[in-house]
């Protein structure tokens, strides 16, 4: 199958991007300045990410749709305010995670942002469940960009007036060159920022205007180091079908109202795990020194017993040291527990730590 290109492909080339294939798309892994500089620029200034490979699923409907989606997602969608977003997951009946996603309530229905590698399968699962009751569009005509970092609000507001008044995890329709754009105040870097859904034909112009205002394109390489420092999960690594949201330490994303009633896909297992606990759980792991423990690195306890595995690990440019997360047996998940990581045949000391590694305050309420 030929790899797809996003509508920003030409701009990536103009900015000397190095490309990699990711989920069937040619995506920029980095530009000429490199991952560390791109990472720091996002933390200190403003970075633009092309995330057009991600799925933008629009489902149109009203009260019935809310009821049906509540049978799928562990969310209180009925009481979710208009234009507000929630982080959630698509699970199977065993509560295994098929995808993690952001769902936003719009006037017309819901907008769900899905991972690129999962979107087609997600669509199939949702279609099977919802049948033909609602119009469902996995929109290939729209691009998605994220602008992240402390200067992003000012920069984006200069181009699209009014966005600075959005609250964290909420959105609205705006206009750019007479085109309707849907903007949410959200992101996946641990920084204040926005995600912008815009028709393909205008994304190049918008991105170039944002660059002219001082933002820079940032590749997937820095996106990975940023999200890991922020303690955020990457599907296919930290999350998959063999892990549940409770094991992934994401129970904060499950609505308490829904737990009491159950009746969503995977609810039996979720409720059982919330009551009885889990045998493995996702934790932050801080290696001592500079050794980098990458995905699949084995974790041992102080008695040299294998107790888990790293699911993401890299060098964190803002932390200026190695950072990792992984799953360990529950009894070893307490903060400051000493563990050992097997890297190239040698065991290196590390400790369990709380997430995120890097913390900044999001804009919660500007209104």
């Amino acid at each position: 199958m030929e790899t797809k290109k996003t509508s920003l492909y030409q701009l990536h080339q103009d900015c000397n991007a190095k490309f990699v294939e990711f989920a069937g798309y040619q995506m920029p892994i980095q530009y000429s300045e490199g991952i560390v500089e791109e990472h720091k620029f996002t933390r200190n200034h403003s970075g633009i990410f092309d995330v057009s490979h991600m799925g933008q699923l629009f489902i149109y409907g009203g009260e019935d749709l809310i009821k049906d989606l509540e049978k799928i997602f562990p969310l209180d969608l009925k009481n979710l305010k208009l234009n507000h977003s929630k982080y959630s997951f698509l699970m199977d009946k065993d509560a295994g995670i098929h995808d993690d996603l952001i769902i936003t309530k719009t006037k017309e229905g819901f907008l769900i942002i899905l991972n690129a590698a999962c979107k087609d399968n997600d669509f199939k699962i949702l279609k099977e469940f919802l049948k033909d009751k609602y119009k469902m569009v996995l929109d290939e005509n729209r691009s998605l960009i994220a602008i992240q970092g402390p200067k992003s609000s000012e920069i984006l507001n200069d181009v699209i007036n009014g966005v600075k008044d959005l609250n964290f995890m909420s959105g609205n329709w705006f206009t750019f060159e007479n085109q309707k754009v849907y903007i949410t105040r959200s992101g996946y870097t641990g920084e204040d920022g926005f995600e912008i859904s815009i028709v393909n034909d205008f994304v190049d112009q918008l991105t170039r205007e944002l660059i002219n205002k001082g933002s820079k394109l940032i590749g997937l390489g820095a996106r990975d180091t940023l999200r890991l420092e922020a303690g955020l999960c990457l599907y296919g690594h930290d999350l998959d079908k063999d892990k549940t949201p409770v094991e992934a330490n994401l129970k904060w994303a499950i609505s308490k109202e829904r737990i009491s009633k159950g009746d969503f896909i995977g609810s039996d297992i979720i409720i059982k795990q919330l009551n009885d606990g889990v045998s493995k759980i996702r934790v932050g792991i801080k290696p001592e020194g500079r050794i980098i423990a990458r995905e699949k690195t084995k974790i041992f306890n102080q008695s040299d017993v294998h107790i888990g595995e790293i699911t993401s690990g890299t060098f964190g440019p803002s932390v200026n040291g190695p950072v990792a997360m992984g799953y360990v047996e529950n009894e070893f998940s307490k903060k400051n527990t000493k563990v050992f990581l097997e890297v190239r045949g040698k065991k290196h000391p590390a400790s369990i730590c709380s997430l995120p590694f890097y913390k900044k305050s999001y804009v919660k309420g500007v209104n």
């Binding site: 892994i29 980095q30 490199g34 991952i35 560390v36 500089e37 390489g221 990975d224 180091t225 500079r290 050794i291 980098i292 990458r294 890299t314 060098f315 440019p317 190695p322 190239r344």
Partner: protein, 126 residues
């Protein structure tokens, strides 16, 4: 001092008497991206031609560093362990990796000169 030679694994080597200084090439650092970790062989240890003699890691991945000739490690560059970004800044000079007391000078003959290496690097990265 002899001319600088290069290996197919993208190391450079400079011989001074019977002591060789070894590092990785600028081309290698450009392929790796930002280097954030370096591990060097132990002083006093023996390394064999084409064997592993260290590790460098970028934000993306880990890569082995090989020694282009055999010998005993007589010195290592702690400065690049403390600040691996030095390797990106000055790979073919101050950011050397280790020094070897070489075992067999004829091993140097198996390596490339600068012109041949530049050609090799261009061809393999295309």
């Amino acid at each position: 001092m002899s001319e600088v030679k290069y290996s197919k694994e993208h190391e450079w080597i400079k011989l001074d008497g019977d002591v060789a200084t070894i590092g990785i090439t600028k081309h290698a650092t450009e392929m790796l991206g930002d280097i954030v970790f370096a591990e060097l062989p132990e002083k006093g240890s023996s390394v064999e031609k084409d064997g592993t003699a260290g590790v460098v890691e970028s934000t993306k991945a880990a890569s082995d560093v090989y020694t282009p000739v055999s010998g005993e490690v007589v010195d290592t560059n702690q400065a690049i362990v403390d600040d691996p970004s030095k390797i990106n800044q000055d790979p073919e000079d101050s950011a050397w990796f280790f020094k070897l007391k070489i075992k067999d000078p004829s091993e140097m003959d198996t390596l490339m000169n600068k012109d041949d290496y530049d050609k090799f690097a261009k061809e393999t990265s295309a």
